[in-house]
């Protein structure tokens, strides 16, 4: 780092040095202090504009009657996509929690360092995988390979596979960040692995895991490719597991290019609902994680 090149003429403090170079440096810093925070606007203005636009397009057409309209004879009813989304998310969350929770616990507690590292890297890679690749996997493996067809179970399971790495990661982190003295105390008192995991560690890790489930649900609700590629449109909530299912984002995808009318209104309504659910869940996640912030210095690297 360069020292200031000018010297005070009379030994005054540098703060009052009026040399040109220092003036320039201070002015530059002051300007940066104004300009750089303005870059926040690059992020803030689009998000506000997006929320306002989607809300302004959707809210005039939304009403309780519209939301609860499940009439299969009405092609632009919103109730069926909402209900279908709830059902798909219930199934997908159940499967994702089943896979990710036990996987995370097993990785944090039972695997050795190297193996655990591989598992964590796999989970991180899965999180970074484009959703369309998972959609392709769902199509080839579930729709064609297992013969499930374009169905609710294929779509929801593909979505579950998409959500699993998030829950896996957060469970692993939660269990890894339990302070070692607690673990040693439990083991020293004679706890068996099951007892430690379920009775000692789970209550401590539970808020974090729940947080992660919320985040995974927020991500799953907004996903389009896994459902669109593995299911076809349906006007009713799936009566059986192998019936097709629609989804809020699939309804958006189907209708967004339609001219202004009931179809485009449906797209905006669905977009608005997805947006508020996702934003609300994200806010809840942040509030909870801010309250239970943990540090991992040196505990489990």
């Amino acid at each position: 780092m360069a020292l200031p090149s000018s010297t005070p003429e009379t030994g005054q403090d540098l703060l009052f040095d009026r040399s040109g170079r220092t003036q320039w440096r201070l002015g530059f810093d002051r300007a940066a202090g104004w300009l750089l925070p303005l870059l926040f606007l690059v992020a803030i203005i689009p998000i506000l504009d997006l929320v306002y636009y989607v809300g302004a397009q959707a809210l005039p057409t939304l009403s309780l009657a519209v939301i609860t309209n499940t009439n299969p004879r009405d092609p632009y009813a919103l109730g069926v996509p909402i209900e279908s989304t709830v059902e798909v998310m219930l199934w997908a969350t159940a499967v994702a929690v089943a896979l990710g929770l036990f996987g995370g616990v097993a990785t944090a507690e039972f695997l050795g360092e190297r193996a655990a590292g591989w598992m964590r890297m796999s989970a991180n890679l899965l999180v970074g995988t484009p959703s369309v690749v998972l959609g392709y996997f769902g199509y080839f493996a579930l729709v064609l390979g297992l013969g499930w067809g374009l169905s609710f179970v294929a779509g929801a399971t593909t979505l579950a596979f998409f959500m699993t790495p998030y829950i896996f990661r957060v469970t692993d982190l939660a269990y890894s960040s339990i302070p070692r003295p607690i673990r040693e105390a439990a083991l020293g008192a004679g706890a068996r692995p099951y007892q430690y995991v379920v009775k000692v560690a789970a209550p401590i890790a539970f808020p974090q895991i729940l947080n992660g489930v919320f985040l995974a649900v927020a991500i799953g609700v907004g996903e389009t490719a896994p459902i669109v590629l593995t299911s076809t449109h349906s006007v009713i909530v799936p009566p059986t597991l192998f019936s097709p299912v629609t989804f809020l984002t699939a309804a958006i995808w189907l209708n967004f290019s339609q001219p202004p009318g009931p179809a485009l209104a449906l797209a905006f309504q669905a977009a608005f609902l997805v947006l508020i659910v996702v934003v609300a869940l994200n806010i809840v996640v942040r509030i909870i994680s801010a309250r239970y912030q943990k540090r991992l210095e040196g505990l489990y690297q």
Binding site: P75, E87, H233, S257, P260, Q293
Partner: protein, 442 residues
């Protein structure tokens, strides 16, 4: 759940000095009690479960139960408005609902082939359908319009297949091209010239589209130099050389793209006429090249035909005279009055039936076609169950009769709403025969 900072010297506060990073050197201890945040989370979960439970309870009181048969349809976006907005909502058979999806004729064909849906909708006849246990059912007669977005032009521009082919092949690039002007009346020619070399923006379909098949068939039949040979296996305009090409997904995407770009031209199905009109697009009067020698375009105003129910019906009737059910089944092109004995001509510029020779009372609008529904002839798999197949056959019965013709003997309101033309009784008769064979095999 939080992100720990990257490794730093233990005990050294991190972060810039005028920030309180809030680092604590020891992790907060958590005992086995649940805190306020968890209570919040549990409350949220209970709320969601309550909502979900409410839905499920409400669902139990509606007609949707496990005995409801959900017939899935996918495919042609040209048929989609008729299915989604009119036929499916008004089909009131108990315990049967139908779900429509707009994905393009190619997807309709392949989905039906693979048994992924109950009904595949296609603008183009699927050849060798029996190899995959499918039958092509014409369900209606539709037309395709040529729309353009030129706010400065009032009235209908005249086009024919040669001009359209040249535009899409990139040989005509501006609206005041002499070839285009020569086909117009003086008013429109003047307005086009007044656009001062406005570029033509070509809008084409990006998905595997029966509309593309119809459009390329029309251009192919009209102009010997058209470079794209239509094939039902392709249905896409691969490599349109025009520099100013926009791609729309589905007919609705074509409307949106054309609306957003002044100077654009697009081929859009007639079922989207209302939305195209409200988008400010105008349709063209389309000519039949066969009124003059091949390769030369018609110059007389009467050779350019506006799409109306009468002109579409004329062309449909003209084309249906070539119906040879015994040899070709219901594979038939109605474009330019149809061609005897084939789907489309195998050589470019071969044209269709010369309407002058057939001497119809009204001129035939040239871009007309049969809309096909593809259904399986035998049940199998999770989707085309025997109950679903029987329900599909029942729906087809309804569509061919009530869907097309109302009790007074005129076209049903739904057909009129999408500006289609109902099937002739001869075609309906053949359809019913084919349906009976499906029924007897389930």
């Amino acid at each position: 759940m939080s992100a720990p900072p990257a490794a730093s010297n233990a005990g050294t506060p991190t972060g810039p000095s005028d920030q309180l990073s809030g680092a604590s050197s020891s992790p907060r201890r958590r005992s086995g009690t649940v805190g306020v945040g968890v209570a919040i989370a549990i409350a949220v979960i209970l709320l969601l479960v309550g909502i979900a439970g409410g839905y499920f309870i409400g669902k139990g009181t509606t007609s949707s139960s496990s005995t409801t048969i959900n017939l899935t349809e996918t495919g042609s976006s040209l048929l989609y408005p008729l299915f989604n907005d009119y036929w499916f909502p008004n089909y009131t058979a108990p315990n049967v609902v139908l779900s429509a999806d707009s994905t393009g004729s190619g997807t309709g064909q392949s989905s039906a082939e693979q048994g992924l849906v109950n009904i595949g909708a296609s603008d183009a006849y699927l050849a060798n359908a029996s190899q995959t246990n499918l039958i092509n059912f014409p369900v209606a007669i539709s037309a395709q319009l040529i729309y353009y977005n030129l706010p400065g032009v009032n009235g209908h521009i005249n086009f024919n297949g040669t001009l359209l082919g040249m535009i899409y092949a990139g040989q005509i690039t501006t609206w005041d091209n002499p070839l285009i002007l020569a086909a117009q009346n003086t008013t429109i020619a003047g307005e086009l010239t007044g656009l001062s070399s406005q570029t033509i923006y070509v809008v084409a379909r990006s998905d595997s589209s029966g509309d593309t098949y119809l459009f390329t068939s029309y251009c192919y039949m009209s102009w010997a130099g058209f470079p794209y040979k239509p094939a039902t296996a392709s249905m896409s305009l691969s490599g349109v050389p025009s520099a100013n090409v926009l791609f729309g997904d589905g007919n609705s995407g074509m409307v949106t793209k054309a609306q957003g770009q002044p100077g654009s031209i697009a081929y859009i199905g007639i079922s989207y006429e209302a939305s195209a009109a409200s988008a400010g697009l105008q349709y063209a009067a389309v000519g039949d090249n066969l009124t003059v020698a091949n390769g030369a375009y018609a110059v007389s105003g009467s050779d350019y035909i506006l799409p109306t129910t009468a002109t579409v019906s004329t062309d449909a009737n003209l084309g249906l005279t070539h119906l040879d059910y015994g040899t070709y089944g219901l594979a038939l092109t109605l474009i330019m009055g149809g061609v005897p004995g084939t789907l489309t001509p195998t050589t470019a510029g071969q044209g269709g039936t010369n309407p002058a020779a057939a001497a119809p009372a009204t001129q035939p609008y040239p871009i007309v076609n049969l809309e096909y529904a593809l259904i399986k002839t035998v049940s199998g798999g999770n989707v085309v169950t025997s109950a679903a197949l029987a329900a599909t056959v029942a729906f087809m019965h309804w569509a061919l009769s009530y869907g097309n013709w109302n009790a007074q003997g005129s076209a049903s309101n739904w057909i009129n709403a999408v500006h289609f033309v109902p099937l002739t009784q001869e075609v309906i008769g053949y359809d019913m025969t084919a349906l009976a064979s499906v029924q007897s095999s389930t």
